[in-house]
Symmetry: C2
Subunit: 140 residues, 2 copies
């Protein structure tokens, strides 16, 4: 990822490059189960998910967060992310697309670093909020 | 995951069940790349990682967060997690084990829900902090 985002170029209210991933497939859920070791059947087996009161399998919340986080790592290197915080608003299901956006809400200096505070969100293809959150990145 | 955590049973200072995963393998990083669509070579290719100034491939920060999040979903259902927030402290590399812990730091009621605020952290096998964060869960 290019490391060329400059503090001086970011104004409060500026948007960062949007990021989208989808539609999310059951294969991705299976790969995520393998990667994370989270084999909870509510992400893999419709019958088990229904037995748990869900309409069918749901996307791992942490996979939704991973997509939202990729909006940041597609913009600045991972090593520049200082904080990443999310509220879980809604669940996503296979077939959903995760659309991510972020904007600058603050700029400050701390411990010799130039910090940019962002308001971030992930929505599905219908505009339903999945995650609403905040992130802080350090830039030159 | 059993949905039997009770608000009345949780006191400030109480620890939640610890959770550990590892050692993290390169296979997990490859699976995570497939699941998330994050094919950044710094997680997959030592030469590319070194060209980027790293000692070798590093674990996706979002995979570390996924492991820390599993501490929560092994304790309460995913649908009960309201907020999950982390500061990135250090990078992890293949071979590292991710040890997670959490404790209750607050209890409150909001919008008719019983909310429990937690302080959470992930460390590697040497006790080096990888993530320090906070989470809020809603319990009966």
């Amino acid at each position: 990822m290019p490391d060329n985002v400059k503090f001086a170029d970011l104004d409060v209210g500026a948007t960062i490059p949007a990021f989208s991933k989808g539609p999310i497939t059951r294969t991705q859920l299976a790969l995520f189960a393998g990667a994370s070791g989270d084999h909870n059947p509510i992400h893999l087996d419709d019958e088990e998910a229904r037995a748990g009161g869900l309409p069918g399998v749901i996307v791992h919340g942490m996979l939704m967060m991973a997509v939202l986080g990729q909006m940041l790592t597609a913009w600045v290197p991972q090593s520049r992310i200082r904080k990443f915080s999310n509220r879980f608003a809604s669940m996503a299901v296979p077939g959903d697309t995760i659309n991510c956006a972020g904007k600058v809400v603050g700029k400050r200096q701390e411990n010799g670093e130039n910090l940019v505070d962002l308001e971030i969100k992930a929505e599905n293809q219908k505009g339903k909020i999945l995650l609403s959150g905040a992130a802080t990145v350090a830039v030159d």
